[in-house]
């Protein structure tokens, strides 16, 4: 019996290791590239033979990457804030209120979740050109909010349905004002859902590439994913492999942090929104 359990544990362990290797190898590879020296970049070995931090020093010396990083962070945070606030409002209404047009909103969100982003690129390019929004932060924030809203509405309304709202009523009966009831009872219950949604939305915005390269043209609003393909290398005759890798690692850090610390929440958020509906 004991050996059978051990045997099964070993089997699971081996499978676990396979999954871990599969998931980590590409990440370790780009990490390794980012530490390789110029001369060993093309040696083809998986681990750096000579380690250097020069690639990181290089990207942080140019304003190009720094600006892109500021753009990425700023645009993703602003989009996330707005999408989560709007999403919370709408999700609350969907989860708790009866009103006409509810189905319309749910249907619209679903439609947008499936919407091919590329269909928006051409018209948005021309509209933003006319409005002067092309290559500005709002020019990217707007589409990001739009595509983040369905995600945030779905995830949040799933969370909100799980909240025992009668507690609010009970608190009011005990003499709490509506504001107190909300602050002391509902807000703490809703906060984890809102926070989880914010993480998912941030990842979505952080990840975008298509809008970022189509609706920007300068460092004024170009985000890191788009900037990666603009790296020129420190000399005309040198491929920017090392710098691209270093920049790629830098923008992967927040993702790794989210995954490490909020794994449970991300899993809960992704599964609740999409399946429980």
């Amino acid at each position: 019996m004991a050996t059978a359990t051990t045997g099964r544990k070993v089997t699971w362990g081996v499978l676990d290791l396979l999954v871990i290797a599969f998931a980590l190898i590409p990440v370790l590879w780009i990490l390794s590239l980012s530490f390789k020296t110029k001369d060993t970049l093309t040696d083809g070995s998986f681990w750096p033979q000579q380690w250097t931090l020069k690639n990181y020093a290089d990207i942080f010396q140019t304003s190009e990457f720094l600006r892109a990083l500021v753009n990425s962070i700023g645009i993703a945070i602003i989009s996330t804030l707005i999408a989560v606030v709007f999403g919370t409002m709408a999700a609350y209404a969907i989860a708790r209120l009866e009103f006409p047009g509810k189905r319309l909103l749910v249907g619209l969100s679903l439609l947008i979740a499936m919407f091919p982003q590329v269909s928006l690129v051409t018209p948005l390019f021309n509209i933003e050109r006319g409005l002067g929004l092309f290559d500005t932060w709002p020019g990217l924030i707007l589409p990001y909010i739009t595509f983040a809203l369905p995600l945030s509405i779905y995830t949040l309304s799933a969370f909100f349905r799980e909240i025992p709202w009668e507690l609010e009523k009970a608190a009011k009966m005990d003499g709490a004002t509506p504001a107190q009831a909300f602050r002391k009872v509902i807000a703490p219950l809703a906060a984890p859902g809102v926070f989880t949604t914010a993480i998912l939305v941030f990842i979505l915005c952080w990840n975008d590439f298509l809008f970022a390269i189509s609706l920007t043209s300068t460092t004024a609003s170009r985000t890191v994913p788009a900037a990666l393909s603009f790296f020129t290398g420190s000399s005309q005759f040198e491929d920017p492999t090392g710098q691209v890798s270093a920049a790629a690692v830098v923008i992967t850090i927040p993702i790794i942090i989210f995954v490490l610390f909020f794994q449970r929440r991300i899993v809960a958020g992704l599964t609740s929104g999409a399946v429980k509906g």
Partner: protein, 323 residues
């Protein structure tokens, strides 16, 4: 007192502000409450609704209008209304159909592989006896990582001399310069990136499979495979269809991986890639919009097929009623 049903929320008196409104007016309380609730609901949804419509609805209508014009920014003098000529140009163009075929191929193959691997991963994440937290955490990395970053990682890995994978193929191998190897690498990159997401969606379905049902089947002498096909799959069907629908539509939009890996060279471009090229390289708003509309229609057809033919319950369509 546990309220799972959202309709309980419609109970008057729960909504903030309800009392205020009902005191001010002397209409029957219930109807007044309902009206206040409606108003609040509409107000709460308005910002989300307006943004979504303004950023997608209007541009789509606008792109239909653009698609009926000859509109190349490099030939400003030739801007004119030309009816459906752009559609004729695109629909009779062999490149369009090639990239359409490639997109379909990539979609079907990568979603099929992701489904099989995702199901295996979901079972593993759900059942594993050791290191569940660790595996779940690590498996989330591909989901979270920026697609372009992952794409660069694959790109460098398959670049001759630089990459460990290209070198493993032997010297002189340059897989990203041929159509089939390139497509294989694009699929690999897609599968790597999205299998965890597929697995999570399927895992949510797995959680709905009652343990005692599996136990009972086991008692009746059903093999593991039989338990999987006869007990688990039927229960999971709604979750599976939703996962497939989402991933299919997502895969159809493939752009980032192709942009980095091949830029669409050697007939590896997707329809998204082609639309981008016609807009950004060609600055041809007419042709670009025509493609945008055609892609939109295709996606609508795919969604329709899933929902009507396979009976996928679109999430949210029945307000959480299904479990």
């Amino acid at each position: 007192m546990t309220v799972q049903n959202p309709s309980a929320a419609t109970e008057p008196g729960v909504v903030d502000g309800h009392e205020v409104v009902s005191h001010r007016k002397s209409r029957p309380a219930l109807s007044e409450g309902k009206r206040a609730e409606r108003r609040l609901g509409l107000w709460l949804c308005a910002p989300a609704f307006i943004v979504m419509i303004a950023v997608t609805g209007y541009p789509i209508v606008y792109s239909i209008w653009l698609s009926l014009q000859r509109y190349d920014l490099r030939f400003p003098a030739q801007h004119e209304f030309i009816g459906f000529a752009n559609y004729a140009a695109v629909l009779t163009n062999s490149y369009w159909w090639t990239s359409f075929g490639i997109t379909m191929f990539l979609t079907v193959v990568s979603v099929a592989i992701e489904f099989v691997l995702g199901m295996a991963l979901a079972l593993l994440l759900h059942r594993t006896l050791v290191g569940r937290g660790l595996v779940r955490t690590v498996a989330l990395i591909p989901y979270g990582i920026v697609t372009v970053v992952a794409a660069f990682s694959w790109y460098f890995a398959w670049t001759p001399k630089t990459g460990y994978l290209a070198n493993a193929l032997g010297s002189g191998a340059a897989p990203l310069t041929d159509q089939w190897p390139s497509l294989f690498i694009i699929i690999l990159a897609e599968v790597w990136k999205t299998t965890p997401f597929m697995a999570l969606l399927l895992m949510a379905g797995l959680a709905l499979v009652p343990e005692d049902l599996l136990k009972a089947a086991s008692m009746d002498g059903a093999s593991a495979w039989q338990r999987f096909t006869k007990v688990m799959l039927p229960v999971m069907k709604p979750a599976i269809l939703v996962a497939l629908l989402f991933r299919t539509l997502d895969a159809f939009r493939i752009f980032d991986n192709i942009y980095v890996l091949t830029s669409g060279a050697q007939d590896t471009g997707s329809v998204s890639m082609m639309t981008y090229d016609n807009l950004v390289k060609g600055l041809n708003l007419g042709i670009g919009s025509t493609m945008a509309v055609l892609i939109f229609i295709t996606v609508a057809i795919i969604a329709f097929l899933f929902i009507k033919v396979f009976g996928t319950a679109a999430p949210g369509s029945d307000d959480g009623g299904k479990r």
